[in-house]
Amino acid sequence: MTEVLRDTSGVLTGQDAAPVLASQPMRVTGGLVDRSRSVRFTFDGKSYTGHPGDTLASALLASGVKLMGRSFKYHRPRGVLSAGSEEPNALVELRSGARREPNTRATVAELYDGLEASSQNHWPTLAFDAMAVNDWLSPFFTAGFYYKTFMWPAAFWEKLYEPIIRRAAGLGTLSREPDPDAYDKGFLHCDVLVIGAGPAGLMAALTAARAGARVILADEDFALGGRLIAETHEVGGQSGAGWATSAVAELAGMPNVRVMPRTTIMGVFDHGVYSAVERVSDHFAAPLAGKPRQVLWRVYAKRAILAAGALERPIAFADNDRPGVMMAGAVRAYLNRWGVAAGKRVALFVNNDDGMRTARDLMARGVEVVAVVDPRRDIRRQAGLPHMLGVVTGTTGRLGLTGINVRRIDGREEHVVCDALAVSGGWNPTVALTAHQSARPVWDEKISAFLASPNAPAGLIPVGAAAGAFSTHGALASGAAKAAEAVEALGFRAPAADLPQAEDAPVRIAPFWHVPGKGRAWVDFQNDVTVKDVKLAHQENFRSVEHLKRYTTLGMATDQGKTSNVLGLAVMAELTGQSIPETGTTMFRPPYTPVAMGVLAGRSRGEEFKPTRLTPSHKWAEERGAVFVEVGMWLRAQWFPRPGETTWRESVDREVLATRKAVGVCDVTTLGKIDIQGTDAGLFLDRVYANTFSTLPVGKVRYGLMLREDGIVMDDGTTARMGEHEYVMTTTTANAVPVFRHLEFCRQCLWPDLDVQLISTTEAWAQFSVAGPNARALLSRIVDQDISDAAFPYMACGNVTVCGGLRARLFRISFSGEMAYEIAVPTRYGDALVRELMAQGQDLGVTPYGTEALGVLRVEKGHVAGNELNGQTTALNMGLGKMVSKKKDSIGMVLSQREELVREDGLRLVGIKPVDPAAQLKAGSHFIALGKDPVAANDDGWITSLVHSPHLRHQIALGYLKNGAARMGERLRAVNLLAKTEVEVEIVSPHFIDPQGERLRG
C-alpha cells in the first residue's frame, strides 16, 4: 500500500522542481514520481533512468523517446497514444529469457530497477524497419484483399502465399520456454465490489464502508485516484491527489474494507461472480520466493459499483498516427502525474472544452502551446490561448511529429511546427463490463457516447464518468448516491454523505469524427485500419458493425478497440447516412484487458495439473522398484521388474506364469466400492443391474452387468451380499464416480421412497487380489478363520479377521481365472498386509503382479474390461445377452432390445490368435476377410485388447467381429494400415484357458 499513499503535496505548486536532468530532457516540475530515487532500465539495449512511480512509457517520454513500436500491417512508426491500459501503440517485449512477455503495454508497465524492454515487429531495427515496405504497398493491402487473391495456382496458397503471410503474423514473440513463475488463485466475498478508485469509486467505497458493508476496492493502476492524480482539479480545498490519498488512507484503515491496487476486474459472470487479476509481483524483476506472480481472484459480490471512468477517443485525419500525436488526457496525465512534457511545442486538436484544460496545464508548467485547433464555431475563447478555428488536415515527420497542417474555417491552410499534438474527440464511458453478459450499450445524444444498457447485469451499477457524469463533482455525487442505494438495498443504513467541493463543468462537445480529405486517416492504430478501409467495407456491403469489424479487423487488436470502435462506427454511420444507434453498437467480451494464461491456470500445471491418487501399497511397490502407470487419477504398479530382466515383457510374463503356477498378489483398491444398505437394497439392485440380485443369498457374490438407459453397457463388477440388508458393490476403476452419481439419481429421482442408502467406501479399504493355485494356502496363514473350499466356496464372501484379530473382508472372486480371493483391510493396514502376504508366501512362490499382468490374465480368461466396455457396446455384443432379464424392469432393459442392437449379424466378442504364433498383432487393427480389399465396405470389426500369453507362448487378443459367434475357426486378416502391416488370424473362443472354470472352483 505504501506507494498508493505516497505524499502528493506540491502537485500544483511544483515546489519539488528538480533541475532538468540531461538524461530526462522532457521531465518538468511536479508529479507523483519519487525524484529522490532513480531507477535504471533499458529499452532496445540502451540504458535510461526514471523514478519510482514512473511507468515505462512515462520514463521513456521523459527521456525524450517518442518512437516505441511499429504497427501490425504497415509497420508504421508508433509512439504512445494514451496513458493507460487502452494503449494500442506502445507495445514492447518486457523482460527476457523464459520471463519474456510479448505485447506488454509500456503505459501500464510499472518501472522497476533493472527493467528490460525491447520493441517488437520490425526488422532489422525499430528506427529502420525493412518491413515498412508494406506501407508503400498499402494501396494493394486494403481490407480483405487476401480474400480476393492468392487463389492461383491452387497449390501455391499453402506452399508460398500463406507461409509469407504467417511469417509476418503477430507482434511479440513467445519465449518457447516454460513460464518459470508461479500463479495462485483464490475466492473473495463481499457486499460491495467497487471497480475503479477514481473520484466516483473512492466516494462510493467510502459511503459503503462507512455504512458497515464489506467492501472491496479494486483498481488496475498501482497508484489510486484515477483522473484525480492526472488532473489539477481541487477537491475539498486540497489537491485532487491529496484528497485521494486521504480517502485511500481512511479505507485502508477500516477492517471491513480490502483495498486492492494493481487489480483488474477482467470479467463479469453469472450471479455476481467477478474475476479479478491481482498483479502481485509484476513490479519486481522476479517474484519473491514462494510468492506468485499474479493471483486470480473470483470475487462473489452482492453488488458492484462500476467506477471505471472513461476513455478519450481520437479524431481521424490524415497521418494522425505519427509518434507525438497523443490523446489530450494522456498529455495531461504525463504532465500532472509524472511531470513529463509530451513535447516542447505542443499543439491541440479538440472538439470539446475538456481539451482546453490541456493547454492551461501545459502553459502552467512553462510548456509552449502553439495552437488549439477546434472545429466548433461556438467555442469560448480563453485569453492567452492560440485558438485556431478549423481542423488538422495532416501531419509531418517520419519517426516523430515535426508539424501539422491546419485548414481554418475560412479555408486558409497553414503548417504549424510542433513536436506533439494533443487530440480529443470526446470521452467514451468505460462500460465494457456492463456488456459482458451481452447487454448492448445504448447511445446517449447529450454526451455523444454509449452508456450502459438498462439490461446490464443485475447488481452492476455504473457511476461517475462510467455513467456519463464527467465532472469531478458529478463523479463524487453519483458515487455516493449509488453506493448508498446499493448498501441500503442490502439492509445497511448509509450515513448522509458529506461531498467535498469540486468542479462541475458541463459537457460541451460537438460530435466530430474525422477530417475528410486525401491520405490515410487512422481509425485503429494497431491494426492499421483507416477511414478508407471502412469506406471499402461499406462499398462491398460489409455494413453491419460485425461485418465491418471482421472484414477490416477494426477493434480486434490487443486493445480490443477501446480507442477505435466508436470512431469506426461513427465513420460507417456517416457513410450510410444513418445515425450511430441505427448503424449499430459496440460489444465487449471478457477479459477487459488481456490476461496472462498462467494466472487463469493457477497452480494446476505440470505434475500438479490434476491430483494424484496413490494405492495403499504404493510405498511398498516403490521399494520393490515397480514401474507405475496413470490409470485415471491413480498411479498403479504396472509391473515389478527384477534384477536381470531387460524388457517389460520378461517381467510381465514372469508375473503371469507365477500367478498361474503358484500365487500372485495385486492391489485392486482402485476398483470402486459402494456400500448399499436398506430393506429395499435388493430390489434397488434388481433395477439398476440388468440381472437379478434380490435372490442372492447372504454371504455370496454375483457378477453384475449395469446398463445405461439407452441399453448400452455402462459398467460391470461384482456385488456381494454381506447381510440381509447390506450389499457391497464394486465398479470398474474408471466408472466409480459416474456409477455412484447414477445410483443416487435412481435413488433420489426415480424411486425416492425405496429404503436404500448409499455411500462410497472405495478408499476405506485396501483390497488385494490373491490369485493362483496357492492362494488358499497363503491366505490361510493370514486369515484367522477357516477358509477351506467347504467353509468358503467359490463366490463366497464374508467378514473375517486377519493376522490375529484385524477386521477384514474376504471375497472369493476371480478376474484371472485362477482360484482367487480378494482380501480387504482398513486402508492404513494395506501396506502392512501386502508385506505380510509377501513374507508368508515366500515358500509358496508368491509374486506381486501389476496392471499389465492383470491384463494378460483377464484376456487369457476372456473377461471384458475398459477396451471392450467403451460405451458403444451392448451385453449382446459381449456375449452376455442372456444376462439381461426381461422379467423385471431395469435401467436400459427396454432400449437394449431395439432392432439394430439385437441384429443376429451384429458385433460379437471373439478371441483372436495369429495363425503364425510368431506373428505380431496390433490392437486397433481391423478385420478384413481373406482376399478382400482393405476398404471400409469389407471392415468386419477390430481388435480391442492384445496381449502376449506366456501361457500359450503367442499373442492372443479380444475383439469385436460382425456375426462373430458364428465364425469360430474362421481365418481373417488383422489389418493395420497405419503401420502397413497385416497378420492372418484365427477366430477362437475368448476363453483361452480353462473354459470350464475348474481352476476357479479348485
Partner: protein, 187 residues
C-alpha cells in the same frame, strides 16, 4: 484396540503423522479419529433421533457440526451424518454405533477413507486461496463439503483459528501439497 501383528501407515506414507508450521499456521496430519457414516432408514426418522439422543450421538442440521464427548459429528447430506470418535477407544466405530441405532440407521465405516488435516492459525489468508467458503459467514461449528484444488473435501470449523480438512485418503499427498503451497503464498 484389536490385537494383531500389522502396523499402520499414515496417509502421507509415514509411520507417524507429520506436522508442518508455515508462518503463523500449523498444518497437522491426524490419524487418531475414527469415523462412520450414519444414514436414516426410510421411515425411521423420529426413531433414529430418539435413539441417537439416548446414545448421546449428536445429529446436527445441514451445514453444521456438533460435539458431545466422546462423540463428534457433522452433516453429510439429507438424512446422513458422519460420526467421529477417538480412534484409541473406537477403532471399530461402525460396530460400536450400529447396536445403539439398530434398524433405524445404516452405518458404514469411513475411518480410513479420509486423510485428516488440522489447521491452526489465521485461517482467512490461507483458506481464501484454497476453497470457496466465505469465512466471515462460516462460524465455528460450521461444516461443509467443497472443492479444493480439484478434490472434494470436508471442511469443519472447530474454532476461530482451527479448521479440520478431510480429503480423499488416496490423494493425501496432493491435498497436503495444495495446503502448504497456499500457506507459503499467503504468509
Amino acid at each position: 484396540m484389536a490385537e494383531h501383528r500389522l502396523t499402520p501407515l499414515a496417509p502421507l506414507g509415514h509411520a507417524e503423522p507429520i506436522e508442518e508450521r508455515i508462518g503463523p499456521v500449523l498444518i497437522a496430519e491426524r490419524t487418531d479419529v475414527a469415523m462412520a457414516s450414519v444414514a436414516t432408514r426410510r421411515g425411521w426418522e423420529t426413531e433414529l433421533a430418539a435413539r441417537a439422543a439416548q446414545a448421546g450421538l449428536p445429529l446436527p442440521p445441514p451445514g453444521q457440526a456438533a460435539e458431545n464427548a466422546p462423540w463428534g459429528s457433522f452433516w453429510l447430506g439429507p438424512e446422513m451424518w458422519m460420526v467421529e470418535a477417538p480412534y484409541a477407544t473406537h477403532e471399530d466405530v461402525a460396530a460400536q454405533v450400529k447396536p445403539a441405532l439398530g434398524e433405524a440407521a445404516s452405518v458404514t465405516e469411513q475411518t480410513d477413507a479420509w486423510v485428516r488435516f488440522e489447521v491452526a492459525g489465521p485461517l482467512k489468508p490461507l483458506f481464501e486461496r484454497l476453497c470457496n467458503i466465505d469465512l466471515d459467514r462460516f462460524a465455528p461449528g460450521s461444516a461443509t463439503r467443497t472443492l479444493m484444488e480439484h478434490l472434494g473435501v470436508y471442511v469443519i470449523r472447530r474454532a476461530e483459528d482451527r479448521m479440520t480438512v478431510l480429503g480423499p485418503r488416496s490423494s493425501a499427498g496432493s491435498l497436503h501439497h495444495a495446503i502448504t503451497v497456499a500457506a507459503r503464498s499467503a504468509f
